[in-house]
């Protein structure tokens, strides 16, 4: 099952106003559900005997309390330190609600032990919310921004 096939299925759902579509292809299975907002959410295919590999990148777990909107994903702090919204006190913040970001866009600085680290978005989309204040202490995994991902 490739991306093109999934795309076609999504179009099919929209065209016929379907809310749920289950497709079986041998051992593979894909479930597509269309949310109330019109967004199509793709559930991961269930593959037997596939090992669960923990995500190696920035922290995937943590409280979901910050997200009321399931369409948003958090940018989480990869370190312990102090959050700074701008490169220096005299500049504008790196991003604010409405800013477009790509995976390599620097979204903030986190300082620890006098070392200033540029933090990248690691996701493509639009900044919806800033979750922390300038000069606030942040811990590992703490949500810094909520992003509406670009598809």
């Amino acid at each position: 099952m490739d991306i093109e096939q999934v795309r076609q299925l999504v179009e099919l759902m929209k065209e016929h106003d379907l809310t749920e579509l289950l497709v079986r292809d041998g051992d593979r299975r894909i479930v597509l559900r269309r949310g109330a907002s019109g967004q199509v959410v793709v559930a991961p295919p269930v593959m037997p005997a596939a090992p669960i590999v923990p995500a190696p990148a920035a922290p995937p777990t943590g409280p979901a309390a910050a997200t009321e909107d399931p369409g948003l994903v958090p940018i989480r702090s990869p370190m312990v330190g102090t959050f700074y919204a701008a490169p220096d006190p005299d500049s504008k913040p790196y991003v604010s609600p409405g800013s477009e970001v790509g995976p390599d866009t620097v979204v903030c600085i986190i300082e620890a032990m006098k070392v200033f680290n540029e933090i990248k978005a690691e996701v493509a989309g639009t900044i919806e919310k800033v979750m922390v204040q300038n000069a606030q202490a942040v811990e590992f995994g703490q949500p810094l921004f909520m992003v509406r991902p670009r598809k």
Binding site: T61, V80, A112, E139, F140, G141, Q142
Partner: protein, 448 residues
Amino acid sequence: MFSRVLIANRGEIALRVLRACKELGIQTVAVHSEADADASYLRLANRKVCIGPGPATESYLRSDRIIAAAELAGADAIHPGYGFLAENAMFAEQCRDCGIEFIGPSAQAMRLLGDKAQARKLAKRARVPTVPGSDGPIEDDQKAVEVAGAVGYPVLIKAVAGGGGRGMRVAHNDAMLRGALKQARQEAENAFKDSSVYIEKYLERPRHIEVQVLGDKHGNYVHLFERECSIQRRHQKLIEESPSPVITSKLRRDLCYAAVKLARAAEYYSAGTFEFLLDHTGRHFYFIEANARIQVEHPVTELVTGVDLVAWQLRIASGEKLALDQHNIRLTGHAIECRINAEDPTRGFQPRPGRIAEFIAPGGFGVRWDSHVYAGYEIPKYYDSLIGKLIVHRMTRPEAITCMRRCLEEIHVEPVATTAAFHRRVLDHEGFREGQFDTGFVERELLK
């Protein structure tokens, strides 16, 4: 005294330090991994900071994140607990370089005692008996054969940077020696990133006796008597007690005096333990290694002496003088500790992480339960399997054994498998009851 201490550890020892700080009026900061985020004991800290995902290499061993957390939270000292960074001299230095006191010895003393070969040299200079063996690391196989010939087989090959019973191999003759050297070096390289090894005579049926010492930053030292730790499996201690059921008053005096001499020679301060082997005659002891940290089994000594070792670590680190007079430290009664691990003794002691659905702690006269677990607690899979320490203190050894036996029946942990039933078997064994055992006892008598 410090105003705020950061606890760079987890589980039962983090809780122990939290309690000591609270009683001394010190504010606390607890760091934790994501796997420990819901642990109850964190609520006792004034502040908690998440420092990474489950795996220790990404959290409890991340000195950068720990020090960053200390700076953020305004901690003026860090207590490392045991394991993790507790004997990491570089970490101790980094803390102090950042103006944060490390609650433990100086980096220099830590390095000296952490190098087993150096520690042996120190003992020789201090005229403390050591197990016959090589003077330092073995340079090559030929030297190894010479040393083995001089001290006599069997010999034990040990990692210089080792500890906790790891990185050791026995050889009974020249033919075995080369193979054993290779294996030991490999294991040492993997575990400690240092393949240096040294050789000691392998003692048959030794007893492991260690002495607790406290030293302050003003050159004052006291010992707090010995602990008998011969009930072990694969060099991991299972049961510890104080006093040792076999050592005489004279031997006790000599052992404790030797430990204090070593501490003084190493300019050691804070809580430390000096380990000795007692040979099968029970008449000769030999220094083997020193532990530059608070140990798991410290409550055994606390119960027989009435001295709060963790509180003293905090006082010593903040510069206070030891207000304990050796004459006033007495060994009263008998204490025994059983380490309760989430392991299945019927399946080779395989660790069994998972959720504790039902939990009832033992209690009663002379019973101490040091643990972070409770009903509903999820034992994470990333760390050691110790879920609690059960320690009892009574006036005599037989009474302590009876009390411990009663507690081991009382403790209720479901559905997780624990070593409680195994401890009962040890306590029921005549050899244990009569105090007739050595470090090979468990493997010989109970794991046939």
